[in-house]
Amino acid sequence: MDYSVKVMDHFSNPRNMGSIENCDGVGEVGNAKCGDIMKIFLKVEDDRIVDVKFQTFGCGAAIASSSMATELIKGKTLKEAWQLSNKAVAEALDGLPPIKMHCSMLAEEAIHEAINDYLKKNGLEPWTE
């Protein structure tokens, strides 16, 4: 398994690792049985993600994907964050081994979950598309 230098960097020095107390939205995807769980915490002000943290149980690619995804959505509007694709996360990491692409998928899904959690908490319709 060959990881890119960027994957190894984000894995070894993960950005935005941790949790946010009184966060505005939280999303958790994956399960321990499969070997990866990703949890994303959002702090939202005026439709903008002002802070984001993650916790991940999983392999190097899963941890690196979480770290990169949080970097990519920090400071973005909810709409912009929603549009972040798993492909974009993988590309930002200079690619992932094919067998590890599902790890970037988890990042996209966790962000969607967290945004919808925020929307629901604020009495808004969750997004589907």
Binding site: V5, D9, G60, A61, A62
Partner: protein
């Protein structure tokens, strides 16, 4: 050792690296290399050739065969050289199955065998054979009673490994052999991990076929052997030339065979002394690792290979553990799905009943003759920090086990 740092520049991370994956493979010993070298250059003759250089090679191969024969208490003409453990396992299973199919189509094995056994069995099932996979207890031990109950009138082969490659559990092979002998069923054992660690006597253990592999005990890769008891009805796997008494075709890998012979001779000579050293290191490692909270030992506490340590750390995943260890110059192995190409967690740990939720957090440290007590100190110093780092990252970790 050199690895890439974050900027992609090669940097020295540690002065000394620690290789603790000796169940995966071992370095070829210097004494072994020395014996092999002449057979790569000046003594290059084909053992099948009748002129003098051919005879030199022939003699070297037979000399090595004698060493393997002595190592396991076999008799003359019962050792066949192969390309390694996988070929030996495949040959034993397929060879016995097809040579004895008129007698029966039932094979008994265990659920914790190496893939070379399990996938060969699966293939045989596709060919019309029936296979019973015996369960194991939480220590990975096969029960002789289960074996007795699984035997049918049409059982032709029992294949149970001597010691497990992941958790090191040593099976009650002598008892299993007795049952097989009593029921007149062929008994094969995969001894790939056991050679050099467990004293083996094919007579005392009633073993009819035994697989071994050179690179697990200081020999070269690509060379192994199958012990076949005289009188055993077995088909060939590879057809062609008349090598290995017409049972395994292909020009002999003379340098590797010479190396395997030397390596097994040394391994048996040093077994007792070596095991003492390894056992001390193993026990210290296990004791130290179990001090990390929510850590569990896999495999049997005492009936295990002297070089095997296998633990599960809750809340974390094995591949990330290996990557962080690698960055510290420590090389080990895991049963996590994320570290396998099949994305399946270890079938051995699963068979032992390790819950799916924590099976991914396993770490195997397999010791070898290169390891020192200082290596053990270093691992025990580094591992708790790494486990903590990953636990701090994991959403599964309860608050009380987080530390910042």
């Amino acid at each position: 050792m050199f690895i890439h740092n974050c900027e992609g520049v090669s940097v020295t991370v540690e002065n000394r690296t620690i290789y603790m994956d000796n169940s995966a493979t071992t370095p070829v010993r210097k004494e072994v290399v020395e014996e092999m070298l002449p057979y790569l250059t000046e003594n290059f003759g084909n053992p099948s050739s009748i002129y003098d250089p051919g005879k030199v090679s022939r003699r070297a191969v037979e000399e090595a065969r004698k060493k393997v024969t002595n190592a396991i208490g076999a008799e003359e003409n019962e050792i066949y050289f192969t390309s390694g453990g996988t070929e030996s396992d495949n040959w034993a299973l397929k060879g016995i199955a097809f040579a004895n199919r008129s007698k029966g189509k039932h094979i008994i094995t265990s659920s914790i065998e190496h893939h070379a056994i399990l996938y060969a069995c699966a293939w045989l099932e596709g060919e019309g054979f029936e296979v019973t996979y015996l369960p194991v207890d939480k220590y990975g031990m096969v029960s002789p009673d289960d074996l007795r109950n699984a035997i049918r009138d049409d059982t032709i082969l029992i294949s149970i490994m001597l010691a497990n490659n992941e958790i090191g559990t040593i099976q009650p092979v002598e008892e299993i052999g007795k049952i097989a002998r009593e029921k007149k069923i062929y008994f094969h054992t995969d001894a790939v991990q056991a050679i050099g660690h467990v004293p083996i006597d094919v007579q005392k253990m009633s073993i009819d076929l035994l697989s071994l592999s050179g690179h697990k005990f200081g020999g070269p890769k690509g060379c192994g052997a199958l012990y076949i008891r005289k009188g055993t009805k077995i088909e060939s796997l590879l057809h062609g030339g008349a090598q290995e008494r017409k049972r395994r075709a292909g020009t002999e890998n003379v340098p590797a065979i010479v190396g395997l012979g030397k390596a097994i001779e040394l391994a048996i000579e040093e077994l007792e002394e070596e095991n003492k050293t390894l056992l001390e290191m193993r026990e210290r490692l296990i004791e130290g690792l179990l001090k990390i909270p929510r850590t569990h030992l896999n495999g049997h506490p005492t009936k295990r290979l002297a070089n095997n340590v296998n633990v599960t750390f809750e809340y974390i995943e094995g591949e990330s553990l290996l990557l962080l260890l690698n960055a510290k110059g420590i090389f080990a192995s895991t049963g996590s799905a994320c570290n396998s190409t099949a994305l399946e967690p270890s079938h051995v740990l699963t068979a032992c009943g390790v819950p799916h939720e924590i099976v991914h957090g396993s770490l195997r440290l397999s010791l070898g003759r290169m390891n020192t007590p200082e290596d053990v100190d270093r691992v025990l110093e580094v591992l708790p920090e790494i486990v903590q780092k990953l636990r701090n990252m994991s959403p599964l970790t309860p608050q009380e086990y987080r530390k910042f």
